[in-house]
């Protein structure tokens, strides 16, 4: 304990003594007010009391005043300014203002030194301990100004801190919990993928194996999540949302692996390598003093750092923190400031943020530690897209742009290209402090990241742009442009440094683009309002492999291997015909799964392949050999399944036939009763009551002819 603290302890002893004095006074009063002589109730001297006070008046003893009573309501605020007598009144006012928020302050005591200067701490007594506790919680670490940060403690805590044992007792290490092989699903002999489904309007969740010919349920659970399911980016964990926080599930039987307590979580975001997890709650639990944003270590479940979100004043844009591709850095933009943090220290990189006036948005390259950000136009200063390298903050490339209304950045998944979609205007007008743009046209500024000095190419499109998507592996991109009914889908490719126009599909009903994760194939989709039209295109020669539709489809998802596509009608958007359908990448329907209250279907992601590029090439070369093997296997599994089905049906049929036989016997037994009820007439078979039948001639209307007969 430093001298300062011991001094404080002395001062507090002083206060205790004052209290003692008061108590003595009180005793005196009682004596004076005593009533005359009382009968003698005393026990004889040799009496031995065998009843302890605890037994006799245990309930009263509990309320017996203790020496420390009242001290729970006292707090010590350290770190307040040291002032002379002349300014003490002002100080008291300030302190009072801060601390009277938490409850009624009964006494304030400012210890002073010999010069009557305050010692820089104060004792405050509240009317009840709860207020004191609240005050400690809320103001510990309170910054009065630059020099003065309060450290606030309960007076009763001093004893606790005094009695801290000097010997460090190492915490017992948590036993290591073996969660088994979290990547077991990658070892599936048939390479089937898994997917999660929420249905019955959110009441049921399940994970299925996309096996052939029918999917296999792996785990089904009622109320697994309260809102949605989220797979981690490499597919290791499945996250479920709950009132109290978030849970991660994984391993072979989807056991719970980790819990993160953060009440009412609204959004989550995994770092790309799954090391960290960011959770956001607009209204965290006040009792636990939680903040809106918490970053967790996924493997240990420990809270790494928490942030406040000013979500009341600023619209929440998720993800608030953007991660570098290798989990090394994460960044957040707040009002023209870009703060980049480092892991695992979770401190600000180089202890300072990057201030860029007019910065509007930023994004990380998906492959390198490069940040791209853009700055809006300001009077005569043009808009600017800048690429910087992290951690050096070296500017790699900057590009000035004029007449810019808005910019959107699209990275190609391999990080080979960055496309900045620039909305440009011909005229602009300021209306009520908001800029109105007219005569909009669109530019794509393509940054060639892998080339020296990062050259930039530009493509201009006059029409309104609905969607843009890079081929994840490759150098093509697709654009949906135009207004209904003149919607077109155009494809461009980068060849030899330049951009070339490849193909245009005109007059289509699409609003979404879904590239296969392996490139080459793309699904053009008209979701929601466009009634769910789907077109499967092979972009190597732009053949339309299939045209189909899933009426009112709200979602389209590629499986992580690019073999299957799923389309779904979610209960969240549309109340009828909920369910999901599975297609091959060529647009052949495999299965339709109508499902009541189907909400969400997500494929389990796979980590990047560990195969070298040569190996992949080799496999592609020998594809014919492999495909023959697989075809045999498919056929075998099919014939096995159909054999099983035939046997199953046979059994079902036999069961039903024997049931019917039993019923027929019962029916025959009851014949006399039936005859009795129907006056002895046998009606068991249609023709068993022959005398009832009557021949009748029935006319059939064959055709009608109208003829005018001459008079």
């Amino acid at each position: 304990m430093n001298t300062r603290l011991s001094k404080m302890a002395e001062d507090s002893d002083l206060m205790r003594n004052e209290d003692d004095l008061c108590l003595e006074d009180a005793e005196d009063v009682v004596v004076e007010n005593g009533f005359g002589e009382e009968p003698n109730f005393s026990d004889p001297e040799d009496y031995i009391d065998d009843i302890t006070d605890d037994e006799l008046v245990g309930d009263l003893l509990k309320n017996k005043p203790k020496e420390t009573d009242g001290f729970e309501s006292v707090i010590v605020v350290d770190g307040i300014p040291q002032v002379g007598q002349e300014r003490q009144e002002k100080l008291e006012k300030v302190i009072h203002k801060i601390y009277s928020k938490f409850g009624k302050i009964i006494t304030e005591h400012y210890p002073k030194d010999e010069n009557l200067k305050t010692k820089g701490y104060v004792f405050l007594e509240y009317s009840c301990p709860a207020h004191a506790l609240e005050a400690v919680k809320m103001t510990n670490g309170y910054k009065l100004d630059k020099q003065h940060t309060f450290s606030v403690n309960l007076l009763t805590d001093f004893d606790k801190y005094e009695n801290v044992c000097d010997d460090l007792e190492p915490p017992t290490p948590q036993p290591y919990v073996d969660h088994g092989n979290l990547w077991y699903w990658l070892e599936d002999p048939d390479c089937y993928d898994q997917y999660s489904v929420i249905y019955e309007g959110g009441a049921m969740s399940a994970v299925f194996l996309n096996s052939h010919p029918e999917p296999t349920p792996l785990r089904t659970r009622e109320r697994w999540t309260e809102s949605i399911l989220v797979w981690s980016p490499l597919g290791t964990y499945l996250a479920t949302f709950h009132q109290r926080g978030l849970a991660l599930w994984g391993g072979e039987d989807f056991r719970q692996i980790m819990k993160f307590q953060h009440s009412r979580i609204q959004f989550i975001d995994f770092s790309p390598k799954e090391n960290y997890l960011v959770t956001f709650s607009p209204e965290p639990d006040n009792r636990d003093d939680q903040q809106e944003i918490i970053i967790w270590d996924v493997r240990t479940g420990l809270k790494k750092r928490a942030f406040h979100a000013d979500h009341l004043n600023e619209p929440t844009v998720w993800p608030m923190f953007k991660w570098s591709p290798n989990d090394k850095y994460f960044a957040r933009m707040t009002q023209e400031t870009l703060s980049i943090y480092e892991t695992p220290s979770f401190g600000l990189l180089d202890k300072k943020s990057l201030k860029v006036a007019g910065m509007r948005n930023f994004s990380w390259s998906p492959s390198d530690n490069i940040i791209a950000y853009w700055v809006a136009e300001d009077k005569d200063v043009p808009a600017r897209v800048t690429l910087i390298e992290i951690p050096s903050r070296r500017e790699l490339r900057a590009k000035n742009l004029f007449n810019v209304a808005d910019c959107k950045m699209h990275w190609q998944k391999c990080g080979d290209y960055l496309c900045v979609k620039v909305d440009r205007y011909s005229k602009s007008k300021k209306e009520k402090s908001e800029w109105k743009y007219s005569g909009l046209y669109y530019n794509f500024e393509i940054f060639h990241m892998r080339e020296k000095q990062i050259p930039v190419d530009s493509v201009e499109i006059k029409e309104y742009i609905t969607a843009f998507a890079w081929e994840p592996v490759g150098s093509k991109f697709a654009v949906i442009h135009g207004e209904t009914p003149h919607i077109s889908v155009s494809f461009y490719g980068i060849k030899g440094g330049g951009i070339s126009f490849l193909k245009k599909f005109e007059r289509k009903q699409f609003n979404h683009l879904f590239w296969s994760p392996n490139g080459q194939f793309i699904v053009l989709a008209g979701l929601r309002t466009m009634n769910g039209s789907l077109e499967f295109v092979d972009t190597s020669d732009f053949t339309v492999m299939a045209q189909s539709d899933h009426f009112m489809a709200t979602d389209v998802e590629w499986d992580p291997t690019g073999r299957y596509v799923s389309s779904g009608v979610s209960h969240w958007a549309h109340k009828v015909d909920n369910g999901y359908w599975l297609w091959t990448f060529q647009g052949k329907i495999i299965r339709r799964h109508p499902m009541d209250g189907f909400c969400q279907m997500l494929w389990r992601p796979r980590p990047l392949t560990l195969l070298s590029e040569e190996k992949i090439k080799e496999i592609k070369k020998n594809l014919k050999k492999y495909s023959a093997q697989f075809e045999i296997k498919d056929r075998m599994s099919l014939s096995k399944a159909s054999k099983e089905l035939v046997e199953k049906r046979k059994k079902v049929m036999e069961d039903f036939r024997s049931y019917r036989e039993r019923k027929r016997e019962e029916f025959i037994k009851l014949k006399t009763q039936r005859l009795e009820l129907r006056d002895g007439v046998d009606t068991d078979e249609l023709d068993s009551h022959l005398e009832n039948l009557e021949e009748e001639t029935v006319e059939f209307f064959v055709k009608e002819e109208l003829k005018v007969i001459e008079e």
């Binding site: 009426f551 009112m552 079902v652 049931y659 129907r678 007439v681 249609l686």
Partner: protein, 319 residues
């Protein structure tokens, strides 16, 4: 197979039924006039005039002499089939939802809706008593507390009545005592229709929960389930093959938000034992409210929200 189009109703058809021999087809609708048709050529034999409200249910006795109808005008009426004249009217407290003759034809039952302080109830009358039938003269009356009866049929041999309820319950009532003998809940939604197999040893339910289910009549054992993506309004079992036909469709409020090609208003054929759908008949412009197999199994009829009843004769090859 070209269907016969029976156009005699101005509003949605609520129920259709064949007589025992199958030469006559009865239909009732939300207009006030039930019809009777020759099932062979679709010619209308006559109408039953008198109701002042939507007619919800119709039945004919085994020897085709009497017809019973129940309507929303709070009456249940018994008609002479040969002349079409009304024999008697039973005034009820509420709209009549379903009605039927017992196996012997000597007793009738009807069920009423729940409203205005009256519980949904099932009533049984003896036709042989000879006197004017009044609501309070019922042989048996049983209340279904809080849970509306939406469909009802007689069990075999005049012993009990089976009712289907709003919440998916199936209840068996003793005709003599009015006690519930058995109660099961296999459906999650309103049971719209109940129909017997020809020997009454099994019956099929049609429910708003998008399924039809096959039950054993005596034990209420659930035997089979036929699943669709639409509410099922009616289901019938073929008397000669292992087939069932389901009629139903999107509710009117959801029609505009579904695909025209999604098979909304088809009559759907399922295999009785394997529960697989194997065929559809596209015909009506609206949901199908009632289906019925001809007793000889060679044709079936459907009545729809569009006001038409259609008689479909299966191809000879199929028979």
């Amino acid at each position: 197979m070209k269907p016969l189009l029976l156009h005699g109703h101005e509003r949605a058809i609520t129920q259709i039924k064949y007589n025992r021999e199958g030469d006559l087809l009865f239909s009732c609708a939300k207009d006030h006039t039930p019809n009777v048709w020759f099932s062979l050529n679709g010619e209308r034999l006559g109408t039953f005039n008198g109701h002042n409200g939507a007619v919800w249910g119709i039945d004919v006795n085994w020897d085709s002499t009497r017809v019973i109808t129940g309507a929303a005008d709070n009456t249940c009426r018994i008609w002479d089939l040969e002349t079409g004249t009304e024999i008697t009217t039973i005034s009820t407290e509420n709209a009549v939802r379903s009605c039927g003759f017992s196996y012997s034809g000597k007793q009738i039952m009807y069920t009423t809706d729940k409203s205005m302080g009256f519980e949904s109830s099932v009533y049984v009358f003896d036709l042989e008593a000879g006197k004017q039938l009044l609501g309070e003269d019922s042989l048996m009356k049983a209340q279904s507390s809080g849970n509306k009866i939406t469909s009802a049929i007689w069990g075999p041999l005049d012993e009990y009545i089976i009712t289907g309820h709003e919440n998916g319950d199936l209840v068996k009532w003793d005709v003599l005592t009015g006690n519930q003998i058995q109660r099961v809940q296999e459906h999650k939604g309103t049971i719209n229709d109940l129909q017997h197999y020809k020997d009454q040893s099994m019956f099929i339910t049609a429910s708003k929960d998008k399924t039809a289910k096959l039950f054993d009549t005596a034990t209420f054992e659930h035997l089979k389930t036929y699943k669709t993506e639409r509410p099922v309004n009616s289901a019938a079992i073929s008397p000669i093959r292992d087939h069932v036909v389901l009629g139903g469709g999107q509710e009117a409020m959801d029609v505009t938000t579904t695909s025209a090609r999604a098979g909304k208003f088809d009559a759907r054929f399922f295999h009785l034992v394997f529960e697989d759908e194997f065929g559809r008949v596209k015909d009506h412009f609206g949901p199908i409210n009632s289906v019925a197999f001809h007793p000889d199994g060679k044709s079936y009829s459907s009545g729809g929200e569009d006001g038409y009843a259609r008689v479909h004769v299966f191809d000879p090859l199929f028979n």
